[in-house]
Symmetry: C2
Subunit: 226 residues, 2 copies
DNA sequence: GCAAAAGTGTTCCTTTTACACCCATGC
DNA sequence: GCATGGGTGTAAAAGGAACACTTTTGC
């Protein structure tokens, strides 16, 4: 039995969304070998006394400066050989950031961290393609039975944003009227008095997710399912 | 930055089922400190050159002699302090064994490995209670949208076994007629000519899960959902 | 013949789908 | 006034839930 010299890292697939760019993922360009110059998802080794979640948040802060809104463990990837140097087992997370934080698009001089549309991803380092695939599948699944989509939107949003978000994530078109009816029946959205224009067309009301109401209703047996 | 001396282990929650005993979990009695003499889920350190799945299968073989039918990663538990000695991060799996392998119940002299009904669990070592809770929740969820329940039954089973299995896992009674109608509509079961008696009452036909048919139908967009 | 489990169909209700017209705004 | 997106209701279809009686066997 060899002495365990397995190293443990964390990696994070960070999703951002806006109705103009669609669904995006935050990647970093690797500075060192292996895979120097290639794009990768942010991450790094776990320190001895920090929790896995802290490690993820620390690495994200160090490598991209971003703060995620929502963070959830995804899967642990541990096949020998996934890192060409040593045995590294990585606990992958995925995170969601809301539109307020999602402004790196403007920083065209950001050489190290950049948003990529999920439909236009570069070849990634290590087995990060596989990790990303799992993350996208998880997001698709989870957004249907937990109200995590709001973590990708601003606090207030026109209903059409929510609609487009689901269409984007599911990769299919959804009837506008049926979607709205179903979502409003859940009774977890507040319609505000403010209206906002998308540039053209009739302005729409802003909505806000009422988390407290959601938890109350959930406790009473309500089932989020979109 | 301290040198990473984090250790990596795997643990496995193994479920077994029969209609007499209900849903059970395989536990081992710890021989050494910490938690000597307490019950725990099987597991151990990952070796440098083995995959996580191999580590689980090896540990299960060593500690309980059992072979699982189905194995899936559950969650990774890594909070500092979960092992009082060192920092140990564990990748938890859950496995399902079918009734053929589920015969340790008879071995009353088995001091080290024993089946426990999930409703009558002892206090477990480490954070294994939490791991078990997650495993039960996952099983409940997964059995509703993937045909994994068959891994807990024999190759051939009377329909009532399947029915009772779902009632047990969901913890609620399910209308027999509606359940059968819905399940048979999926078109993934074969009704055999053999009939079997449960001791009393009218004997029922045996059924068999047709995995190939399931995969074919799934490829065509069918959705398992019970 | 009685107790126990298996087999089987119909009705009602809820949910989902499909679908079209008017309204408010910017240009 | 026209193009664009927002707002709204109804009817048909499908799916889910509720429900009872007959059959086969062991004892």
């Amino acid at each position: 039995m060899s002495k365990p010299t397995i190293r443990l890292s964390v990696d994070a697939v960070v999703f951002g969304y806006d109705s103009k760019h669609g669904l995006s993922v935050l990647l970093i360009k690797r500075k060192y070998d292996p895979f120097q110059g290639q794009w990768a998802i942010p991450g790094g080794l776990v320190l001895e006394n920090e929790s896995l979640e802290n490690a993820v948040e620390r690495e994200l802060q160090e490598e991209t400066g971003i703060h995620v809104n929502y963070l959830e463990q995804l899967y642990t990837f541990g096949k020998p050989g996934r890192d060409p140097r040593n045995r590294v087992v990585t606990v992958a997370y995925y995170g969601l950031v809301n539109q307020g934080n999602f402004e790196l698009y403007a920083d065209t001089d950001a050489e190290e961290a950049q948003w990529f549309n999920v439909a236009e991803l570069p070849k990634l380092a290590f087995d990060h393609d596989a990790i990303l695939d799992v993350a996208i599948e998880r997001l698709k699944g989870k957004i249907s039975y937990e109200p995590i989509g709001f973590e990708l939107l601003g606090e207030k949003f026109p209903f059409s944003e929510l609609h487009k978000l689901y269409e984007t994530v599911y990769g299919m078109s959804i009837d506008r009227r049926n979607f709205k009816k179903k979502f409003l029946q859940l009774n977890i959205l507040e319609e505000l008095d403010e209206k906002v224009s998308q540039g053209k067309g009739r302005p729409g009301s802003l909505f806000r997710f009422n988390q407290k109401k959601y938890f109350d209703l959930k406790k009473q047996g309500m089932n989020f399912d979109i």
